[in-house]
Amino acid sequence: MSCDKFDERLQQLLDQRLEPADDRELQHHAQQCADCRSLLEAQRRLFSAFECDPYGRTGLTDNFAEKVVTAFVAEQPPVRSWGQKAWAGALVAVAALLLLALLPGLRPITNHRVSPAPSTNNVVENAAPIVPTVAVPKYVSHETSPASEPLGTNAVASLPPPGQGTNDWIDNLRESISEVSLENLEPMDQIADGFRPVATSLQSAVGVLRRTLPGGGENRHKPMPAASGMWNNGLDVHV
């Protein structure tokens, strides 16, 4: 066996995870060739070194896995709880309903002024031309000229008829808005980027509504206009 064959055979045995020292041909050549003998001995020492464990390889701390998992959990972004998600969802739903129900009422303001059909209940001719809320014209126009107000009729459908718990409905609505505080509920930076414009719009809309609804925001401590018969038509206004 030549030295090249010796090397080839040695690699072959190691590839098969066999012990070269057990191979007769290799041993025979190694006895005759000092270089190959030293190489074989180096191989033996090399692999015996792997059986030694000077670094305490198995000495990872017992709680190593717990430490890793703790570090992993700490790196995770905060996950909103189910309650938080439900709360945010309810808020968005309420805000959307408010927009659907009340925004169309902005347009009949013009109607109120151009069609002053006299109403036995709520018209005071010299009343100041103040439109206290965006919701008021709906009831006025509904009572006085329902046919002339096609706008917003769908939105008003969910409202109770005038004189039948309207204030309660508004009060509940206001309270629900008071309870649903966008500013306190969900910091904007916790809302996904794609929803931020929508959330901002809703937040603004709800803010406007809170300020303009009777008894809400700026109007909360203001006395109701005495001349506004619409608020005194037998309804108790608790604001």
């Binding site: 090397d7 590839d15 030293s38 001995e41 090399l46 070194a49 190593f64 896995a65 998992v69 992993f72």
Partner: protein
């Protein structure tokens, strides 16, 4: 998750220790490996073996750690003067292991990783090819070269001298 880490931590630590040669660096690499694995577990292709994927991540962590080490001054952990003369015949197993570790550190990164995965982790060539993302033939070549370089290094440094003396006496 704890079970997953417990199951594979020894294997990953073995590779990292051989690749980095320092216990603290190896522990850090193991932790980074498992953090990376846990984060990426959702993207793991379940049709492929988990172990090669894990060891590939560990290898990459080791490569990153070595690159970081090169950028900062490191104290020499093992010096030649700690190795006694080859003729004294008193070399302990620990010293031999340290010598082998030094020899490993001098190998090309790919040779070292292939060698450790084959001989210490006892992975098959095909699995190592998956880990290192190269053909099986390349892995074989790297392992053969790693062996030759290591054996030659040990022979030149006289690690085998003691045995040679014994054989002569016989």
């Amino acid at each position: 998750m704890v079970d997953l880490v417990d199951r594979y931590k020894g294997q990953v630590f073995g590779l990292c220790l051989r690749m980095l040669g320092q216990r603290q660096d190896a522990e850090d690499a193991v932790q980074e490996t498992f953090l990376r694995v846990l984060k990426s577990l959702g993207r793991w292709d379940a049709s492929r073996d988990f172990e090669p994927w894990l060891m590939a991540i560990a290898g990459n962590r080791c490569r990153t750690a070595l690159a970081a080490r090169r950028r900062r001054p490191m104290p020499q952990t093992l010096e030649d003067d700690t190795v006694p003369d080859a003729d004294d015949g008193q070399r302990s197993a620990e010293q031999l292991a340290e010598e082998v570790q030094l020899a490993l550190a001098d190998l090309r990164f790919e040779y070292r990783q292939a060698f450790v995965l084959f001989h210490e982790q006892e992975m098959e060539y095909a699995a190592i090819a998956q880990v290192m993302d190269v053909p099986v033939g390349t892995i074989k070549t790297w392992v053969h070269r790693a062996r030759r370089e290591l054996m030659e290094r040990l022979r030149l440094r006289g690690i085998h001298q003691e045995t040679r003396n014994v054989l002569r006496q016989v």
